[in-house]
């Protein structure tokens, strides 16, 4: 009897430990595979491509690479000579049209005071209309002047945002084309995180849930929350061919890889002194709120 009790006790201890191991291993599996977190996160920021509004030679670059600039700071200067001349020309045209308008007006006034026996009605009407035309010409010249002034102002390229100049390759002497980007400015206030979550994890959290961002290779944690979830990604298995026919990939059926869906995480606060670079890798752990769990 005692022998059997001892034997049962031995078996029970071993099985209890084995059971605990299985239980914990299963919990770890669920935690690792089925909780809303991803190692595939990226720090992102809005980048403004700075392109000049007027063409010309670059005469001065006022910033250094990676320099911090405020909104409105001068980035570079395009040679204003052409635009200065254009401005002078526009002013001259305005003066000329103004004189012409004065002449046509006085002619019209003079004819208006004469009666039908001295000049024909046609002649009087013509001078009235010529005065109206001269007024329109004068206004067009004023608009051209304003445009020339705007070109002059736009020959100084300024930063539209607070941020950092990046990849500065423009040099004095380069020719700047209208609309061709010359440098990039990274918006200081626009940093966010894209967490690429596997599709089956999307059901586990909702917009507004808190998220923890761990930058790669550092113990630093940033707090954030789920801002939005992307509502569409490309179907990689079905690119349309040139004749607009479907091109379904004959995929291997056994292993199905889950797609990654971008989830936008808003960073609540960026600690002072932290160098946060757009493009950094991070892990994102979403903590679903209790309301959602139930």
């Amino acid at each position: 009897m005692k022998f059997y009790l001892k034997r049962i006790f031995r078996i029970l201890i071993t099985l209890a430990i084995a059971g605990a191991a299985v239980f914990l291993a299963q919990k770890l599996w669920v935690r690792y595979m089925d909780s809303p977190w991803t190692r595939d996160g990226r720090v992102r920021a809005d980048v403004v491509n700075i392109a000049p509004d007027v063409a010309g030679l670059v005469v001065k670059v006022a910033v250094r690479d990676n320099q911090f600039v405020h909104r409105g700071d001068v980035l570079f200067q395009i040679d204003p000579e052409h635009y200065r001349h254009a401005l002078a020309e526009a002013r001259a045209v305005v003066d000329q049209r103004k004189a012409s308008l004065a002449m046509k007006r006085s002619q019209a006034l003079r004819r208006a005071s004469l009666d039908d026996e001295v000049i024909s009605r046609e002649n009087r009407e013509d001078t009235d209309l010529a005065a109206a035309g001269a007024k329109a010409d004068y206004e067009a010249a004023l608009a051209s002047l304003e445009k020339a002034q705007l070109d002059m102002v736009r020959s100084v390229v300024r930063s539209p945002v607070d941020g950092w100049v990046s990849n500065l390759l423009v040099r004095p002497g380069d020719y700047a084309q209208v609309g061709a980007p010359k440098l990039a400015v990274i918006d200081q206030h626009s940093f966010w995180v894209y967490g690429y979550f596997e599709e089956h994890k999307l059901q586990m959290f909702h917009v507004g849930d808190t998220a923890e961002i761990q930058l790669l290779g550092s113990g630093l944690k940033l707090q954030g929350h789920v801002e939005s979830i992307s509502m569409g990604i490309t179907d990689r298995d079905n690119p349309t061919d040139v004749r607009l026919l479907a091109n379904v990939n004959p995929s291997f059926n056994w292993v199905r890889l889950s797609q990654r869906v971008p989830v936008r995480i808003h960073i609540d606060a960026i600690p002072d002194g932290l160098t946060l670079v757009a493009g950094m890798t991070c892990s994102v752990v979403v903590k679903p709120s209790a309301k959602v769990k139930s």
Partner: protein, 66 residues
């Protein structure tokens, strides 16, 4: 606890570290149990050792991925 660590500049999940720590821990506990004579009250020492390893590894993993 960071979720990955640098192994020769390649970043791998900390789970690998937990695996190594659990293996060493199991060896140490094995010596300790042998010295205490605990294996006399164990039914199947090999299964017991494996289970101890499983508990250590899963426990560490759950702590890392809280």
């Amino acid at each position: 606890m960071p979720r990955e660590f640098a192994l020769l500049d390649a970043l791998v999940p900390t789970l690998l570290l937990a695996f190594i720590v659990a293996a060493i821990g199991t060896l140490v506990l094995d010596r300790l149990f042998a010295w205490l004579g605990a294996y006399r009250v164990i039914w199947y020492p090999a299964l017991f050792r494996l289970s101890v390893f499983g508990c250590l590894f899963a426990g560490l993993g759950l702590w890392i991925y809280q």
